[in-house]
Amino acid sequence: MNLTILYFARLRDELGLGEEQLEFTPAIRTLGALRDQLCERGPQWRNSLRADGIFAAVNQGIADWDTPLQGGEEVAFFPPVTGG
């Protein structure tokens, strides 16, 4: 039960990564825990994923950082939206 993780727009450019598969582990209990784990990859990850106004979505719906994860989800991180 991998997680699919997507990065959009400015985040994708900063991280040099648009999509990845991550093995789900019990430590990744929530969206916030997933972000904490990704931030351990280095200062660029911390800067990007903890920037003001970063959103996350779980299965294509906007989600709070305490949203539970159980594996199999599509998770997306993105900066504030600018459409319209």
Binding site: L6, F8, A9, R10, D13, G53, A57, Q60, G61, I62, A76, F78, P79, P80, V81, T82, G83, G84
Partner: protein, 157 residues
């Protein structure tokens, strides 16, 4: 007409340009009970944050975009008595003067049509996963979100 059940919602995300006339005719179709049609088109300007913009690329999150737009339209249809809602947003490469987005609503009353159309635009601006990247003479840049858009959406609470 009752509130949400009679409201017909159409959401489109596409790279092709659109005919405002054709979308207007959809809003007008088949109902002599419609008294009011309000529509909005957002167009690409050639100027932003003090430099000229040559072109723009509109990125989105396929799948989520359509869900969010449907959800915004549904909220509008529950809040006001509407007959039809049409939302069309373009993605991909755009040039100055290009049409970017169409939002139109038809219903019985003028005030409701105006309110619903502006409500949808305000939430589209702050909730739908689109991102603009501009090409200027100094290179590419991601467009920053505006506080004024968030404030516009907050008015509806």
């Amino acid at each position: 007409m009752s509130q949400s059940e009679a409201c017909h919602i159409e959401v489109m995300v596409q790279s092709a340009d659109f005919s405002q006339a054709e979308l207007y005719e959809r809003l007008r179709a088949d109902s002599p009970a419609i008294g009011a049609i309000c529509s909005f088109v957002g167009l690409m300007r050639d100027f932003n944050q003090a430099s000229e913009v040559r072109s723009m690329f509109l990125e989105h999150y396929p799948g989520m975009t359509e869900k969010v737009l449907q959800d915004i339209a549904r909220q509008a249809s529950e809040r006001w008595q509407l007959r039809r809602i049409v939302i069309l947003h373009r993605v991909g490469e755009l040039l100055p003067s290009d049409q970017i987005v169409f939002v139109g609503v038809s219903g019985t009353h003028r005030g409701e049509a105006f309110a619903a159309c502006e409500f949808i635009m305000d939430f589209l601006k702050t909730k739908a996963p689109f991102w603009k990247r501009e090409q200027t003479d100094n290179g590419q840049r991601w467009v920053d979100a505006r506080d004024s858009d968030q404030q516009a959406a907050d008015r509806w609470r």
